[in-house]
């Protein structure tokens, strides 16, 4: 049957906006009275992060400033998104080291496998999330930049309860 329009009549209580407006106002008033639920003044005020937050990587260094990385190649192997590039080489003492070590933070999914797999506890994720760059290339952190990071490193598990019991 063309041309017929079905008209639905809703009860007055539902059709009115008064009820929803009152509900919204109740929340506004509740937040007004509760100082814990206010807008955070973000750049000035920051969240307190859990020590287990997984953010920007950081490379541990020896006392003389050398990276602790031995270039074993386990992190690029375990990395699920292939964001780590590693070229190992031999230094003048015959030790293995990472000649090229780059992490693409843009591609990284911050799973923490690299930290977990590292046999010498060199690469860590960090308690840090504020990364902003003008170009994508800048997101590729080289070894020097990874060593320069100063934020806290992520605790992947509670040291007093490593098996999470």
């Amino acid at each position: 049957m063309p041309g017929e329009v079905k008209v639905v009549s809703r009860p007055k209580g539902e059709a009115s906006y008064a009820r929803a407006a009152a509900k919204g106002m109740r929340i506004t008033l509740k937040h007004l009275l509760n100082p814990a639920k206010k807008t955070q003044q973000y750049p000035d005020e920051k969240w307190e992060l859990s020590p287990r937050v997984r953010g920007t990587h950081r490379m541990a260094v020896h006392e003389d400033g050398r990276a602790k990385c031995v270039g074993c190649g386990l992190c690029p192997t375990v990395c699920p998104v292939n964001c780590i590039k590693l070229v190992p080489a031999e230094d003048e003492n015959g030790e293995r080291y990472a000649a090229i070590y780059e992490i693409d933070e843009f591609r990284c999914i911050f799973c923490g496998y690299c930290q977990e797999v590292c046999p010498v506890e060199a690469i860590h994720l960090g308690v840090h999330y504020e990364n902003a760059e003008y170009s994508r290339e800048r997101w590729v952190y080289d070894l020097e930049r990874l060593c320069e990071q100063e934020h806290d490193v992520t605790a992947l598990w509670d040291p007093s309860d490593p098996a999470s019991q």
Partner: protein, 532 residues
């Protein structure tokens, strides 16, 4: 295993499975036949001596009071062997525990990690923790030859390397120095490790104690792709495995073939192949445009070449072919040469010093430093010492890399000069067309070795630019000339070879398999086919 010969056999039971083996077979080998790999370190099938000193292959034999090393124990009729009984496994676990007392466990930086027998069997025996309280002793590393490093800490003194040098290479250069926990591998005082086959000690090392200097810290085992291939270093045609990473050859290892190279290969072959990574390659087809060569695409290049050849016509010319080309390349090339009615085909083989491994008579570094000189002879090409420098005004076909030392004016006078090669030497600039072909590592194909054994190799690398296998390029030219079909897979190319060259009759790509097969029934018959 009845092979028609009068050989006595014995039947024994390994882990509940009956197996019949020739008399004199060791239990470790009999166990392999039923799929049981008894853990072993000092035993290597290619090394004749079995000192049974690693004590890893101990097995229980019913009715005998003590465990027996299966690598020296001869199989006997009615023997009941238990490789995985509680006693045997306990003994193995104890051996592993002792081996790990001083092992540095530097697997993350060890080049053998992932291909290490100590890792494998430590996992199997579930040896997870050490009961040793004393600190590990540190011995450091040493250079035992100019290209092999020795990491003494990782060494488990299986003496495979010492016995390879002594019993296979017949060169007493290596010894076990000191005794007990202080033992290490060293050269005999006053001797140097300087043998053309010494690289094999790295392959026999079950752990990462011996490492080639040019491989150290280069690649992890799981990063590399392994491809079955044939060494192009000389006419022996050793079966090899090419390990590649990021489209580069990083390492070569011998692949077992009892008919050719047994378990070994020479150092020249190893280094020669890794060198193939280097050099500037021909990447795009180029055709003559006035006095210049112009890069172009395949379609244009091939139709241009075919047109030029039709203009030149069936004129008697000459051809120079490199013995690095595969049999399939040669087969298609001969079809083209027949079309052009070229009969004078020359090839040149560079030669070098020979070296032999005493206990494997067939395995030699032969003077002919090319893999397919014999194949070329089968096709009827003529071996020359020097390429003729003056070219008559007639068609000239050059295939392969043999113009590096050619005079600058090589091929200038030719009425049509076609060059198919992987590189761009000076003399190639005189060509009317340059068609880039690929090396053996970048395609599938076969070589015919010094005794007429046809052996398959497989593609390990991606070709540079738009270079293509020679047989593919040639078949397209032939199709353009209207004398054949386009061939784009190696099986069809091999069929073309079998159909067109009588020496290869009866062979098939699948039939020759990875171990190869002789042409026309073997060496002797082949010699008669070749006009000497």
């Amino acid at each position: 295993m009845s092979n028609g010969e009068h050989q006595n056999t014995v039947t024994l039971t390994v882990d509940g499975v009956d197996v019949t083996v020739p008399e004199g077979t060791r239990v470790i080998e009999a166990a392999e036949r039923v799929g049981v790999v008894v853990p072993r370190y000092c035993y290597h099938p290619g090394i004749p001596t079995r000192p049974a000193q690693c004590r890893m292959c101990l097995v229980e034999v019913e009715g005998r009071p003590k465990l027996e090393p299966s690598c020296t124990l001869q199989a006997e009729d009615g023997m009941v062997v238990l490789t995985a009984s509680k006693t045997a496994e306990d003994a193995r676990q104890a051996v592993i525990e002792f081996l790990l007392v001083n092992h540095p466990l530097d697997c993350p930086i060890c080049d053998a990690a992932g291909q290490c027998m100590l890792q494998d069997f430590a996992y199997v025996t579930n040896q997870l923790e050490s009961r040793m309280d004393e600190p590990k002793q540190i011995m450091g590393r040493d250079r035992i030859s100019d290209d092999i490093l020795y990491f003494a800490d990782r060494c488990i003194i299986c003496t495979r390397c010492v016995r390879f040098m002594r019993d296979v290479a017949h060169d007493d250069a290596l010894i076990v120095a000191e005794r007990g926990h202080k033992s290490y591998i060293d050269t005999f005082p006053g001797r140097e490790l300087n043998n053309p086959f010494q690289g094999n000690i790295v392959d026999v090392c079950p752990v990462g104690a011996l490492v080639h200097e040019d491989f150290v810290f280069k690649a992890r085992a799981w990063d590399m792709d392994a491809t079955a291939s044939v060494c192009p270093g000389c006419s022996t045609g050793c079966n090899v495995t090419i390990d590649t990473k990021e489209n580069q050859i990083v390492r070569m290892k011998p692949r077992h073939n009892s008919k050719v190279n047994s378990y070994w290969m020479c150092d020249y072959g190893r280094k020669h192949l890794v060198m193939t990574n280097r050099g500037v390659r021909a990447e795009v087809p180029m055709i003559r445009d006035g006095d210049k060569l112009r890069a172009t695409d395949w379609e244009t290049a091939i139709s241009w070449v075919a047109r030029q050849m039709e203009i030149v016509g069936h004129e008697t010319g000459s051809a120079v072919i490199s013995p690095q080309m595969s049999n399939e390349d040669l087969s298609l090339l001969w079809s083209l040469l027949n079309w052009l009615q070229i009969e004078k085909v020359e090839f040149q083989v560079s030669s070098g010093e020979t070296a032999s491994l005493p206990s494997v008579p067939k395995l030699k570094l032969r003077a002919d430093r090319a893999p397919n000189a014999f194949g070329l002879e089968l096709f009827g090409a003529e071996r020359v010492q020097h390429l003729s420098s003056e070219t008559p005004e007639s068609p000239l076909v050059v295939m392969g890399d043999l113009l590096q030392d050619a005079p600058e004016k090589f091929g200038m006078g030719a009425s049509f000069f076609l060059y198919l090669g992987t590189r761009l030497p000076e003399a190639a600039r005189n060509a009317h067309a340059i068609l880039p072909v690929v090396t053996f590592a970048e395609m599938d194909g076969t070589f015919t070795n010094f005794e007429g054994r046809v052996q398959r190799f497989h593609q390990a690398l991606n070709p540079p630019g738009i270079a293509r296998p020679g047989w593919m390029v040639l078949s397209r030219i032939l199709a353009e000339l209207g004398t054949g079909d386009v061939i784009s897979d190696v099986r069809s190319a091999f069929d073309h070879l079998v159909k067109n060259e009588q020496a290869f009759e009866g062979l098939s790509w699948d039939g020759i398999g990875l171990k190869g097969a002789p042409v026309r029934g073997g060496h002797e018959e082949v010699k008669n086919l070749v006009p000497s």
